[in-house]
Structure formats: structure tokens, C-alpha cells
Symmetry: C2
């Protein structure tokens, strides 16, 4: 595995690889890798010739008072995991390389960034869209993989790539969970033992939503009511949002129809966790 820290080098290597007919795949990460990240590599490995992972804790997607400085980092472990998982290139730029003096450009995806996480993290998705546009341009990737765990992020990136005509295929891989149901996240290390137990209410409430829909419930309000009831009963669980939205536009879905996402963000102490599930109801099944 080659480790590249310079944009210029990454860009010229990518150009050479593409000229020789190679198809490049990218998995952008903020490091502190877990099985969720590694599943993203798995999801596109067979669909590209060169597998690139990037590690960059992107400061512009953290708001003031958020955990940028304390965000967990372990480069040596990440490097080892990527080697063991047949990653070909690790792109690992410095902050100054990505945002040199005079940097002035922001990519904003309107509308679908106003909802869900966009409400409590108003500058978050502009930071994400901008850095991902950069990473696409730097690596020249033909295909890139993101996790469904960050469901809104995946929708924003798809929209951005389509709108700006970036010639990249976006793959979204399913959420990877602990055996007990907690969605893998680098931020799970923040949880105390009691918080870790309480956090299971997220998956349990999503399971209930799924079951209600399977049984024929189509009214989002009813489903949201049940979810809220479960989570509100959990000590120290502070709801940021629980919503059912159209899976593409992130607009509130009053009825379960087509492809929707049940999405939630809940704080346990200082740790904010997000989780979601996708539900698809074919037209015939709609009442």
C-alpha cells in the first residue's frame, strides 16, 4: 500500500493510472476505522482496479463546540487495517494541504441539507460536500463508496456529484452493526458503559418502525409516535430529531410511500449518535 500525503502526487498518480486504463475506487474516511469502513472497501473492491482510501479529519464539517480536536485518531492502527484489507493507496493529506491560505470556495447543496442533521449542524454538509468534491477531483475516482449510516450525507453527496456532473458512480453500503444492534461509529468510543446500553434504544425503535410498516402502517405520525415513546423512556436519552423523510430529497414524508428513511439523532451525555433505516413500499402495497 502506498501512502500519499501530497495532492499533486495523488493527482498525477491518478492521472497516470487512468491513462493506463485503470478504474479507480475511493473510500473517503475520517480515520479511526472500524468494520463499517472496511465494509465500504469490500463493497467496491471487485468493481475497480485500484482501491484508494482517504483519511482526513475534515475541520470544516465540524461546527463550533463540536468534537474536531477530540475526534478519535489512530493512524498506525488505520494504516495496518487498510494494509490487511488490500487497500492499494492511502491518501492522507495535511490540513494545510487541503485548505491552504486564501482558500475561499464552498459547495452548498440546498434543500436536502436543511433537514435532519442540517438543522442542528447548519454548516456541516457544506463542509462535507466541499471536501468530498475535492477528494473526487484529487483522486479522479470512477467509483466511490459511502455508508448508509450517514444516510443524509450519502444523499447530499449523490445530489452534489449529479448536479456538478462529476463523473463518479456513488455506491452506498448498508449499515454495519455490533452484535447487539448498535450501528458502528468512530464516536461510539465516547460512550460510558451505561450510555452504551441505553444507546440500544436506537436500533430497537427502528426495528419497531420496520415491523409496523410490514404490518401495514403507512402513517408516519403514528410510527414516529411509537419511536418517540421508546426513546423518551430511556434515561439520559436526549432526542435531537426523529423523522421519516423521502430517501432522496430528505423532505418530510407524511405517508410511507416509495423509498423513505426513518432517521434519528439522539444524545447520550456528550455523545450524539445517529441511526436510520430505509423502507421501501412498492406502489401496489400503498393503501
Amino acid at each position: 500500500m502506498e501512502i500519499i500525503r501530497s495532492i499533486r502526487l495523488m493527482q498525477s498518480l491518478a492521472e497516470d493510472l487512468k491513462k493506463s486504463g485503470k478504474r479507480l475506487g475511493l473510500v473517503p474516511t475520517m480515520g479511526y476505522l472500524h468494520q463499517g469502513h472496511l465494509s465500504l472497501l469490500d463493497a467496491i473492491r471487485s468493481r475497480c482496479d485500484v482501491l484508494i482510501a482517504s483519511i482526513f479529519v475534515n475541520p470544516t464539517q465540524f461546527g463550533p463546540g463540536e468534537d474536531f480536536t477530540s475526534y478519535p485518531r489512530d493512524f498506525q492502527r488505520d494504516e495496518r487495517l487498510l494494509r490487511e484489507n488490500d487497500c492499494d493507496i492511502l491518501f492522507y493529506p495535511e490540513k494545510e494541504e487541503m485548505y491552504p491560505e486564501g482558500f475561499s470556495t464552498i459547495v452548498i447543496v440546498e434543500g436536502l441539507t436543511d433537514e435532519l442533521c442540517g438543522r442542528s449542524r447548519p454548516t456541516h454538509f457544506a463542509g462535507v460536500a466541499t471536501v468530498v468534491a475535492k477528494l473526487f477531483n484529487i483522486t479522479g475516482c470512477d467509483i466511490a463508496c459511502f455508508g448508509q449510516k450517514d444516510g443524509q450525507q450519502a444523499a447530499v453527496i449523490k445530489r452534489m456529484a449529479r448536479d456538478l456532473n462529476i463523473p463518479v458512480e456513488i455506491v452506498v453500503a448498508p449499515i454495519v452493526r455490533e452484535p447487539d444492534g448498535l450501528a458502528l461509529s468512530s464516536r461510539n468510543v465516547y460512550l460510558s458503559e451505561p450510555e452504551r446500553k441505553r444507546s440500544l434504544c436506537l436500533k430497537k425503535s427502528l426495528d419497531l418502525a420496520e415491523r409496523l410498516v410490514a404490518e401495514g402502517e403507512r402513517d408516519s405520525k403514528v410510527i414516529l409516535h411509537y419511536i418517540r415513546d421508546i426513546i423518551e423512556l430511556v434515561e439520559g436519552a436526549e432526542i435531537d430529531y426523529i423523522e421519516i423523510v423521502d430517501a432522496e430529497t430528505m423532505k418530510e414524508a407524511e405517508r410511507i410511500k416509495g423509498k423513505v428513511m426513518v432517521a434519528l439523532a439522539v444524545r447520550f451525555g456528550k455523545t450524539r449518535l445517529i441511526d436510520n433505516c430505509l423502507l421501501e413500499v412498492s406502489e401496489e402495497n400503498v393503501e
Copy 2:
């Protein structure tokens, strides 16, 4: 010359050409071509294998009440001129192709878009940066040429391409003028005969600025004062701005030092004209 109207076709043709080792050059235009546009083709012709021009009157860079609908168009003449000038591909998309339903992404270059034209046209440069990012991605161009006539636009596009790491070289070609000095612009057709005569005050005042600097004047305020005096004496000339700015950041330059741009925008009747000149003073010559 091949005329392409579909993004998908343009993108796949560009990909094929690049795979076969061709270097692609792009001249983005809004059509109604004049010698200024053709000079942009000349400026990069020898530096690419395939010369692409695009014609797209981009609605998002016009503000409310501006001249989007009345902007002059003559596709047949443009097509003929491009053929005669050895353009290889004309990319000529429909509005619906560029901005399909659900389009939501904007590219904003902060700071240097607040000044000069950005003040009276607050959404203009976001429209420009977004459409140019799209055109870069659609054509996959290795080199692209813009005119110094739109000096601030050139600075914005350079900044955007650098910040987003778009692998394209930006060339800025000098202003082309009528024999009497008026900078070529598609909007010059709007001018009545008396307005056309009055418009010469732009070039004359820029010439004076150049002369004052050549004679050693370094105080921007003094130079601006002379320019303003000339233009204010012209009947019906309504000043939007006259400024001296750093040529890269577009920030006001109090002294003539390094590379600066003397830029002005003046209305003659309903027509707003812009013009500028670049001045470079090497450190030794600075008092």
C-alpha cells in the same frame, strides 16, 4: 466540427478522447461570439489536441431584472464562426439538461466575489462558478481559456478550480478592443449611437491610469480621482464602481504595488459595461 447537446454524450466522448491520450481545451461562452471569444480559441489552440467551445446562456448568473431573456443570441452565426475558426467540438446544452428538476448545488467563492461586480450582482458569481465547475466536469478539459475583459470572473474561476482541485489549467487572454478602444462585448449591441461614443470614456480613463502609474503615481486614491473626473463629465454615464484592487484577491489596493487591476463598471442608458486594465509594478519601482 461536432455539435453535442447531451451531457452524457459529451462526457463519454471526452473520456474516450482522454483515454486515447488527447489533451482537451475548453472555451466556455454564452454565444453571440465576437473576436474576443475567437481570441480565446487562438490562445489555447496550440496547447491542446481537441478544441471544445461551449455555448450556454446560463440563467443562474443573471439576477432578477437583468437581461437573461433579451441577451443576444445567434446560433447559426456562432456555429459558422466556430467552424471557420477550427473548433473541433461545440457543446451546446439545453437549460433543462444543465439544470434538471431537483438541481440543488451551488459553488460559492467567498471574499473575492463580494467586491466590484459582486456588489451590484450579488448572485452572479455563484452562478458563474457553478456552471463553470459543471462545464469543467462535463468536458474533462485539461486547459480552459477565459477573457481578461471579465477580470473578476477570471480570478473567481482560478480560485474555484484551485480550491476544488479541479485538474485544469486556466489561461486568461487579454482584452480585445474595437479600433477606437471599446472592449468587445456581446452587450455592445445594446448601445445607441450616442452611447457608443460616450462609452469610449472607459478606455480613455484606463489609459490615463496607466500613464499616471508609468509616471510614478502610486496612490490609488489619486488615480481613481482622475478616472472619476473623466467619466463624470460624460453625459449619461452612470458609474457603478471604479476601483483599484489586488489582481488575485480583488481586495482594494490603496497603493499600486505588485499586480493590481483597475476595474470599472459604468451604465450607459440600460447597458452596463465593464472594463479593466492590469498594472504590474515590480518591487524596485515602488517608492
